[in-house]
Symmetry: C2
Subunit: 469 residues, 2 copies
């Protein structure tokens, strides 16, 4: 392979389709938003502050999953605090890019609270509200250990009121405000219905490095150590009405199967946050208020909502991997035949973060030996019902490359025996942008998990050897 | 930083000092060895088969640590089997490079046994021996999933008898036979004494990729799952006499603190093996036989031997990191103030394998935020005496860069507060080839561990995107 730097830019054909135009009527109603430049980033053409507000008359439910890193950034601590104070309600959020407000001590917390307060001030007042000052969440991404230029940010939040909108351009501006090393804004929407009522989902997120999230709710699981990190941010907005507790449990479920199953570089950040807001603007009215979907009182509706949210989260998570720093390949690693989901997920994660597997993918080399070595380096967990720890049996393991164009699969290892691989065919499959790898442990269990990752390129080294300068 | 490929070659000044000339009288007596080309590698100028034999009249003790990967290569299974059969005795070994004989099924095992048998045939016969056919160990390194060209190898082992020697040239030939992507042969020796008796240690090893070993004895720990991997190989030879069980326990201790604390790319191999042979050629004679050091009957001598072996193993392990694929930096990561050794080791390992930390080191960027993020992503283990899981307290963590030239340390984070870092001074420290990072968790525990790693460069991607072609 030549020493060519294959770079994805938003102008290249392969990137263009990722930022596809969306129909305005597929966006949730009852939200106003914008993205502007306030000066966190040096380049004045780049947006660095986004504001999203619910204009619905109904209560807006909010839920979030935060990083499990021990070094939680100020915005994570503050957003978690707002959610806990307000019982899972919040009517908007503010996001800045360029500075993570992480490892910034007391000043960092004050700055994050100021962002919450000034964003809340943009919301229409609500009479019955107890805490009228803190009704918004906050997210930050960028360099760690630097304080925010808070006066610029506060002035920016005030100024944001002038450009709030709900057309496609407004959505796109907000999506752009999330970006750091991302090469394109990440914005998706979809329409679904429950019991004949049509709802909409829209989502924005960003990567593109320090991506190996492990997120969960903080306040609602007090035994979980408080942790945060810095580079996966995302939001999902819907005009459905969902009770706060059900919104949180649906999000936790969705995040485990989407954002917690992606890796760009194996590094967990201090700021990772996914927020969901459900403003009820499209919900049926019962007894004068929006009828909220709830997992206990209306299980069927909840299951539909959870499935839609999960599928949508997978779409958003995959976009992050597709735009992974230096990525030239989008790779799905499926592990099956494992004793349980946890083992399958751990092995898929290990394969997805292996530097040797990822450089081989960059080199379009069907080096399944590296996949096996990564697989075999993960100790399996013991079963809760027995003291016996299951062991991978090399003679039962199979590895298959599944082409993304629907043509025939290419088994490279069957029951531990290497196949006589047609190298030309292997090269053909690996030259595609999308690659699927299936590892079957053959242990007879129903443990199955899919991880999404990208390759490791020169460009990744360039971006990260050179990030701050 | 410019897009320059900084490559280490054995001819560059920075590499030359690593392959320093050694005095002949520092090599252990009673060994004959060689390295030749037999045709596993295509290039005829490269050596690919090494043979080491003990010529001592005394029993030679042997011990080994093998990879814990689930996919154990044939030579690992066979060497473990020989050690178990012979009660920790073996008088030599054979090593080949270019083909790992891993994932090669029944044929692979037959080939490894053939290597053992033909190497044993080179040894002087011993009358009292029960198994006269299997008195040697075997190691292989190279590509996974291909069968060895066994007839070439067997012919080569026979031919090796012609060039066996004990001069420096013979040691160097043997060291060269280990090499794959290594840029220089790795050979070290040292002299030590116990109770006035002088002994010698010599060692050879190889990397340079798929280096993140976790090795232990196999047969002697039946509950440990059998595993192996492919790219760290090494041997230590001594003319001391040590009982088999004490040789194994000293090696296990030494490997935990040396080879099991290095990383080049975070990938554990299927063949990793460290062998030690103690032939007793320099040992004092008591009751007509070499007096063996033993941990139960002569604790003091054993402790001296163990310490010498450990220090020597650290030297050999560091050589592998220094020659890590694409490496331009040699980095020591020390974690202290942790609740216990296990937590300190896990955090040092995570920092040492972080792609973001390693690319920052390549870019000579004092990006301590990435070090913190890696630190915070490791969950601490619970104490065996309490159900409480300790948690990293961000306000107690300190990070310091310690220059390798003995000048003043550079604290970048003190008790969770970022220092006002002099960027010029940081650049100066990071421009050195050797870099030391100290992370103090401040948790008051005596858990402390050091890991050795290298940076992540363009060259790493080139080597591994292009390995098989």
């Amino acid at each position: 392979m030549a020493l060519v730097f294959r770079r994805w830019a938003s102008s290249t054909p392969s990137k263009a389709h990722l930022h596809k135009p969306l129909h305005e009527n597929s966006f949730p109603i009852g939200f106003k938003l914008t993205g502007i430049h306030v000066g966190v980033k040096k380049n004045k053409e780049l947006l660095d502050l986004g504001v999203v507000l619910s204009t619905s008359q109904h209560p807006t439910s909010a839920a979030a999953c935060f990083t499990r890193n021990a070094f939680k950034a100020a915005p994570v601590i503050v957003s978690d605090n707002v959610l806990a104070r307000n019982g899972g309600r919040a009517r908007g959020f503010v996001v800045n890019s360029g500075c993570a407000n992480a490892v910034t001590g007391k000043q960092g917390l004050e700055d994050a609270w100021a962002m919450v307060k000034h964003t809340t001030a943009l919301l229409p007042s609500q009479a019955a509200k107890e805490d009228t000052e803190h009704d918004a969440l906050v997210m930050s991404t960028g360099v760690i250990g630097q304080n925010l230029p808070i006066s610029k940010i506060v002035a920016g939040i005030r100024r944001a009121a002038d450009s709030l909108g709900s057309d496609f351009a407004a959505w796109e501006r907000a999506a752009k405000a999330f970006m750091t090393t991302d090469t394109f804004p990440k914005l998706r929407s979809r329409v679904f219905s429950i019991n004949g009522v049509e709802y909409r989902l829209a989502g924005m997120d960003k990567g593109a490095g320090m991506i190996h999230p492990d997120m969960g709710p903080l306040s609602t699981i007090p035994s979980s150590p408080r942790q945060l990190h810095a580079t996966l941010l995302g939001c999902i907005l819907t005009d459905a009405a969902v009770s706060p507790r059900s919104l949180q449990s649906a999000l936790t479920y969705a995040v485990d199967r989407s954002f917690n199953s992606i890796s760009v570089d194996g590094d967990m950040s201090t700021n990772d946050t996914i927020i969901v807001l459900a403003n009820g603007a499209a919900a049926p009215i019962r007894d004068g208020r929006a009828h909220e979907i709830d997992e206990e009182t209306d299980r069927d509706s909840y299951e539909i909502f959870k499935k839609e949210l999960t599928d949508f989260a997978v779409d958003l998570a995959q976009l992050v991997v597709r735009d992974g720093e230096g990525a030239t390949k989008f790779v799905a690693v499926k592990v099956q035949g494992a004793p349980n989901y946890k083992d399958a997920h751990a092995i898929a994660s290990k394969i997805s973060t292996s530097a040797l597997v990822k450089t081989a993918l960059y080199g379009e080399d069907a080096n399944w030996g590296r996949i096996l070595a990564a697989t075999g380096s993960v100790p399996l967990s013991s079963s809760p019902n027995s003291e016996e720890v299951p062991v991978i049996n090399p003679s039962k393991v199979s590895v298959t490359f599944v082409p993304s164009d629907g043509t025939a699969e290419l088994p490279v290892l069957v029951n531990g025996e290497p196949e006589n691989v047609d190298e030309d065919r292997a090269k053909q499959i690996l030259s595609m942008e999308d690659i699927n790898i299936v590892v079957d442990l053959g242990l007879g269990g129903d443990g199955e998990a899919t991880y999404w990752t990208c390759d490791f390129s020169y460009e990744y080294v360039r971006i990260n050897g050179d990030y701050r300068s």
